[in-house]
């Protein structure tokens, strides 16, 4: 059983190795898709094969619980969509000479490495390894962000690497401090950073040191989630990265980082009580929402708009996490999954728009719905998902988050967040309408949709609708994850 835990990490790595050998070929691309799919299948097997409970693999280096399974589902789902769409994307980039064979080669190698790093981050038992995996995602995506090697891409990747690395470095410092506290709580040096050990000894951690560690971890992983104050890379990186990579960064990477934050929170809450991180999460969550909503209002670039929408959602789940109840955690997980799929939709559609117009300015794009039914509808559905309209799942998750907040006596936070969300909604609807509706300009270029991207988009639309109707067995999974994270009722 333990060996199964290695699949989500090794399968993408194998695909990367193959891509390294073969270069950008159909075969390696399909193997990459299969690798992503294998992550999804592993998640399904892990989730439904056996009764709930935490399992370990490779000694106690890897660990899977319901939260891990959920995150693997997200990685697998969005990863499959993104790798699938990558075929069409890279072909088009090659055709338009935005990249060369070397660039494509690099892309083919780094994308599965990125997936593997994320899988490791959610499966690691040791929070140090978790940290290393998260930092590895930065390294892996640095060149993906700068893939086009234009000035903008270069600038974005520099900022991305520098800002994220500083943030993550602070998280490392926090990890070190937690290790220190854990050692002094009597843990043996080899296991002091293991989650299960930390959880079992949480009550004996030195509160002063733990508080410092928790603050640094929140700040550090917050950088990767896209929370204030290290949020400044998000828009640059996600707007410059290739569409499938943007989808992964926005839909999965941020969520994975948030999942580590949740794990840390479960330890810290046991040690310090819920008050400390609650204050912290609320502060950064609300500030993030404020920044995201404001930037959405003044936005002129549709890819940056999508990036700020990610920030908005991350801010929201940070606020939700501060409630910390079972309902809140379950809602966060649903939110993350729905957001991942929705973001894939909009980013992949946006990628085609960018390819057609060679611009990402909102004002350059009009009448998409009449020009390309598929791209227009995908973008519209994606936006509807993101702004939380029923019948899509983010409506249910936002509703549940609201209930959880009110239930945790945080109605005031909800009251502060809702106007900001309405502002964000207003901005997204305004920009979306501007792009999608209306008569097409006579001079508008045709929007090409490669088959693989069309397939990915259709799949994502179907998934979005289905998830909006019912989460089926996932509901139990989410609730178990919440219980395992020590959430109260």
């Amino acid at each position: 059983m333990g060996i199964l835990l290695l699949v989500p990490i090794l399968a993408p790595l194998a695909a990367a190795a193959l891509a390294a050998v073969l270069g950008w070929r159909r075969l390696s691309a399909w193997v990459t898709i299969l690798a992503a799919l294998s992550v999804l299948i592993t998640a399904a097997v892990l989730g439904f094969g056996i009764e709930s409970g935490v399992r370990f693999g490779v000694g106690d280096l890897l660990r899977v619980d319901s939260l891990g399974v959920t995150m693997l589902l997200v990685i697998g789902t969005v990863g499959t969509l993104a790798t699938w769409a990558s075929i069409g994307y890279i072909d088009a980039e090659l055709a338009h000479r935005h990249t060369d064979q070397r660039g494509a080669h690099l892309y083919g190698v780094l994308l599965p490495v990125f997936l593997a790093a994320m899988a490791l981050a959610v499966l690691a038992n040791n929070i140090g390894v978790m940290w290393a995996a998260i930092e590895a995602t930065t390294v892996a995506t640095a060149f993906l962000v700068g893939h086009r090697r234009t000035r903008g891409a270069l600038e974005a990747s520099w900022k991305y690497v520098v800002i994220c690395s500083v943030g993550i470095a602070l998280a490392f410092l926090g990890t070190v401090l937690l290790y220190f506290a854990s050692l002094h709580a009597g843990a043996s040096s080899g296991q002091a950073l293991d989650l299960d050990v930390l959880l079992s000894r949480a009550a004996r951690l030195d509160p002063d040191v733990t508080r410092l560690a928790a603050g640094l971890l929140l700040l550090g992983y917050g950088a990767k989630v896209g929370l204030v104050p290290f949020h400044t890379w998000v828009a640059d990186a996600q707007s410059q990265a290739p569409a499938p990579v943007s989808a992964l960064m926005s839909g999965v990477l941020e969520a994975v980082a948030f999942c580590t934050l949740l794990r840390v929170k479960s330890v810290v809450d046991l040690s310090l009580g819920t008050g400390f991180l609650r204050t912290g999460l609320l502060t950064v969550g609300l500030l993030t929402l404020l920044v995201a909503a404001s930037m959405l209002v003044v936005q002129k670039d549709f890819k940056r708009m999508l990036a700020y929408s990610s920030m908005e959602n991350m801010g929201l789940i940070a606020i939700a996490a501060s409630a910390g109840t079972r309902l809140a955690i379950a809602a966060i997980l649903l939110h993350v999954l729905a957001h991942g799929i929705g973001k894939s939709l909009v980013f992949l559609a946006a990628g085609q728009l960018q390819a057609a117009h060679d611009s990402t300015a909102i004002r350059d794009v009009t009448g998409v719905l009449t020009r390309s039914r598929l791209i227009g509808a995908s973008f519209a559905v994606g936006l509807a998902v993101l702004v939380g309209l029923p019948p899509f799942a983010m409506f249910a998750s936002e509703l549940s988050i609201s209930r959880a907040l009110a239930g945790a006596h945080l109605a005031w936070a909800l009251g502060a967040a809702l106007p900001l969300m309405v502002i964000a909604f207003a901005a997204l609807v305004r920009h979306g309408t501007r792009m999608l509706l209306g008569p097409p300009d006579a001079s508008s270029p045709a929007i090409a949709v490669p088959r693989s991207i069309a397939a990915a988009l259709l799949t994502a639309v179907i998934l979005s609708v289905a998830l909006g109707m019912t989460a089926g067995p996932l509901t139990d999974l989410f609730h178990t994850a919440a219980t395992q994270l020590g959430a109260s009722h």
Partner: protein
């Protein structure tokens, strides 16, 4: 090694560590900064070696030697290569904060570090943790260097300083993190510096320089 020599050696290493950081803030010559960084790496490597000698354990010494190789040799060389050949690139252009103010801020940050580390020292009063404030101060100084330096390379140096200081903190308070974590972390740092170096050279091609003030095209 006696208790007193041990404490003295630790303090000396930590002091040297802090000193290199202050000098990096002071100096503007890029090659000098890189050299200082190498010295800092050496000071960092000394910490586990002292520990190993004192405890009479080989493992920390091995770790120290690896660290020495990586931080005092490999990474500075990587950076030095990225400094490039052009003359005008060798000096830091006027920093955002002038040298005097920078040094004053550094002093302030050091004081802050002393204040902040008190809870950690309180938990474990040992010679190692007593040296912690000096190392912790470098964390703050490193961040300050990254905020105030205009050249891409100076920022990379700042990042490395940050990483050095965190590693040093780990050595001082926990005698290093578990091996697998250390391995992962070092690998990440290596790659990160590699990436930063590569980006710097790309930047030189695309922007004709490495002044980070040029990176202001992406905004709303």
């Amino acid at each position: 090694m006696t208790e007193a020599t041990y404490t003295g050696a630790l303090d000396l290493a930590a002091g040297a560590f802090l000193l290199t950081a202050v000098l990096i803030v002071w100096r503007r010559e890029l090659s000098a900064i890189v050299r200082l960084l190498a010295w800092q790496g050496a000071a960092l490597a000394v910490l586990p070696i002292i520990e190993g000698i004192y405890q009479r354990e080989p493992a920390p010494i091995v770790v120290g030697v690896v660290v020495l190789l990586l931080r005092a040799v490999v990474l500075p060389i990587l950076l030095a290569r990225a400094v490039g050949t052009e003359d005008q690139e060798r000096r830091e252009s006027t920093p955002l904060v002038n040298t005097t103010a920078s040094l004053l801020i550094t002093a302030g940050l050091t004081v802050l570090a002393y204040a902040v580390t008190q809870p950690i020292i309180a938990l474990d009063r040992s010679p190692t943790t007593r040296a912690l404030p000096a190392v912790f101060a470098v964390i703050l100084i490193a961040v300050f260097v990254m905020v105030s330096r205009r050249r891409a390379l100076s920022q990379a140096v700042g990042f490395l300083m940050l990483d050095n200081s965190i590693t040093a903190t780990a050595f001082l308070i926990t005698a290093g993190v578990p091996l697998i974590v250390e391995l992962g972390a070092s690998l990440d740092v290596l790659f990160a510096v590699f990436v930063l170096g590569l980006l710097t050279s790309h930047m030189r091609v695309a922007f004709g320089g490495t002044d980070l003030d040029q990176l202001r095209e992406l905004r709303d």
